[in-house]
């Protein structure tokens, strides 16, 4: 089901210090004050990124090898970025405002879709807590290749004002690969549009 983290059935290796509460507590328990209680290993980010790269490169080899075709697909890809319709926190309000009448992000072909299957851009617009980190990664994995991620606002970039809190992921780049960071707390809608334009520039430069 969309929006649901996959069930982690098998126990995964723990990498926590000795002060872990003993016994067979559930997976989420490991950790002590200051140490995240969700292990990144369980999130499969490690295996995921090389696999994704491989898939992407093979895709490009097969489909868009010609010098004529690749720029066309590149043009198409960068001009039609569908972000995931997902509001996390404060930045989501500015994210919504950017789709409002005054800024109208649809001018650039940016149309939010609710299902991750139809998206190619994950805009992390707000504070990511350890409780939602699983779901974030699951959503990112559910998006088909090629895909990009934008960390919008300071909470997504590095935890923001809440980075000292016990429940907040200090930067979403610990969980997923991020292409563009947007500073601001929250960023103005113009700033967000600027980030999207910068991502388009980046895609153009990379020639993906």
């Amino acid at each position: 089901m969309s929006g649901q983290a996959p069930e982690t059935s098998k126990p995964l290796p723990r990498t926590t210090p000795d002060s872990t509460p003993a016994g067979d507590l559930p997976l989420a328990v490991v950790g002590q004050p200051g140490v995240p209680f969700v292990e990144i290993e369980t999130l499969r980010a490690r295996e995921f990124i090389p696999a994704a790269k491989e898939a992407l490169s093979s895709l490009l080899k097969e489909q868009a090898q010609g010098k004529l075709i690749r720029p066309v697909f590149n043009w198409a890809g960068r001009n039609s970025l569908f972000p995931l319709h997902w509001g996390l926190a404060c930045c989501a309000i500015e994210f919504a405002a950017a789709f409002g009448a005054r800024w109208d992000a649809e001018r650039f072909g940016v149309v939010p879709r609710s299902s991750p299957r139809q998206c190619d851009l994950l805009i992390v617009n707000g504070t990511v807590t350890w409780k939602v980190a699983h779901k974030l990664i699951a959503l990112y994995e559910q998006m088909p290749e090629p895909k990009w991620a934008i960390a919008m606002g300071n909470c997504a970039t590095g935890g923001g004002p809440f980075r000292t809190a016990y429940s907040v992921v200090p930067g979403v780049d610990k969980l997923i690969p991020v292409d563009v960071y947007i500073a601001g707390c929250p960023p103005r809608p113009e700033n967000m549009l600027d980030g999207i334009l910068r991502l388009e520039q980046l895609i153009k430069e990379r020639g993906e």
């Binding site: 969309s2 926190a89 309000i93 409002g100």
Partner: protein, 381 residues
């Protein structure tokens, strides 16, 4: 048809934020719901214990990101009570005006989200467009669009800029016309009534028992409004009516919020008139050195020991756009508050979903939850 549990959230267009509504459905009928919160728990109460009073204000804007100034007001009232500080009257008027403008902005945000839940696409953009005008006003005197950092213990950051009152009057006049348009798009449409009448009914005794407050309670006929019942700041100086409805359903909540926006415009106009006539200071005469965050929050150990500042406990309950918000600030005489506890109206209003959701259809969840006006930031804190 067998029963099944459906997870609506944390990524779901209905939730407008990070929370999860587990729904047990049989066919299209809701049998049971289980709200799950905490996906946006950012430990604001814990961080506050490590910050100066004025620095907590930056957190308040982010606690409720659609009603930042209301939450600043909430905290400031409690902190001033705990710290025994009295602000000048002009600052109080500015605060009330800001809070009422913020109420309009928050209700416009609610309107946008709510009509989107109904499938109405156009008013969403109208609501966001008109809300931007209020945010422009905020930007003109606070410097921020969404996070204002405007109120301070003992006053406000700066006085209003020249010509502000004139501009503000223009904007609220224009908004009054827009409210008519909103009603035309919603109330005049039969489909709106078909979708909203008689949905999510929560009658008054139950609403009281479940702790539901704000427009949800007033839509059930209760006249409970803290601005009238227990006036804080200068709410006893301004005239306004409490908006109520009798239907206790989604339409009733819509009507209450629309009327509240009109009443807020009324309050804003009174405040603007007062502010025009009464120039004066907007910051208290004297504050303890360590209270002002911009003013070098410094001191060494022996200074802290030497200082003998009175302790106190502050409790403030204010009528926030979503309901009754509360702050409980314990001042143990230190530079940081010893404990800050907030009451979020949204948490309780969502909690009561166990009462008002079962029996309706899956298609009714978005309008009902939309009429609750969810702001997860303040719910999870």
């Amino acid at each position: 048809m067998t029963e099944m549990w459906v997870n609506m959230g944390p990524q779901h267009p209905m939730t407008h934020g990070l929370w999860n509504l587990r729904v047990r459905i049989e066919g299209e009928i809701i049998k049971d719901v289980e709200p799950e919160m905490g996906y946006l728990h950012r430990g604001i109460e814990k961080i506050s214990e490590d910050r100066h009073y004025n620095e907590i204000i930056t957190l308040m804007d982010r606690t409720c990101y659609v009603a930042g100034l209301s939450w600043e007001h909430l905290f400031i009232v409690a902190a001033e009570q705990a710290l025994h500080v009295t602000p000048p009257e002009r600052a109080e008027y500015i605060r009330v005006m800001s809070a009422e403008l913020q109420r309009i902005a928050s209700h416009l945000m609610w309107y946008s989200a709510f009509v989107q839940d109904l499938g109405l696409m156009t008013p969403f953009l109208y609501g966001m467009r008109d809300r931007d005008l209020i945010l422009d006003l905020f930007q003109s005197y606070t410097g921020g669009r969404l996070t204002y950092e405007y109120m301070r213990v003992g006053g406000v950051r700066s006085d209003l800029p020249l010509g502000f009152t004139q501009r503000c009057r223009q904007v609220v006049d224009w908004l009054m016309d827009r409210f008519v348009e909103y009603d035309q798009l919603c109330l005049s449409s039969t489909i709106f009534h078909e979708r909203c009448d008689g949905l999510g009914v929560l009658l008054e005794p139950e609403a009281v028992a479940y702790g539901v407050t704000g427009p949800m309670l007033r839509s059930a006929g209760s006249r409970r409004d803290l601005r009238k019942d227990r006036p804080y700041s200068v709410y006893d100086q301004v005239q306004f009516d409490v908006a109520t409805a009798t239907t206790a359903d989604v339409t009733g909540r819509y009507l209450v919020r629309m009327e509240e926006m009109r009443q807020s415009v009324r309050i804003v106009r009174q405040c603007l008139d007062w502010l025009d006539d009464h120039p004066g200071p907007v910051m208290a005469d004297h504050l303890p050195r360590w209270l002002g965050a911009p003013y070098a929050p410094m001191g060494n150990e022996s200074y802290l020991l030497k200082r003998n500042y009175p302790t106190g406990v502050g409790l403030s309950m204010i009528e926030e756009p979503h309901g009754e918000a509360g702050a409980y600030v314990v001042n143990d005489g230190g530079e940081h508050p010893y404990r800050v506890k907030f009451r979020s109206p949204v948490l309780i209003n969502i909690w009561a979903a166990k009462r008002y959701l079962p029996g309706y259809r899956v298609a009714d969840i978005p309008p009902i939850m939309g009429s609750v006006d969810v702001c997860v930031g303040e719910c999870d804190r």
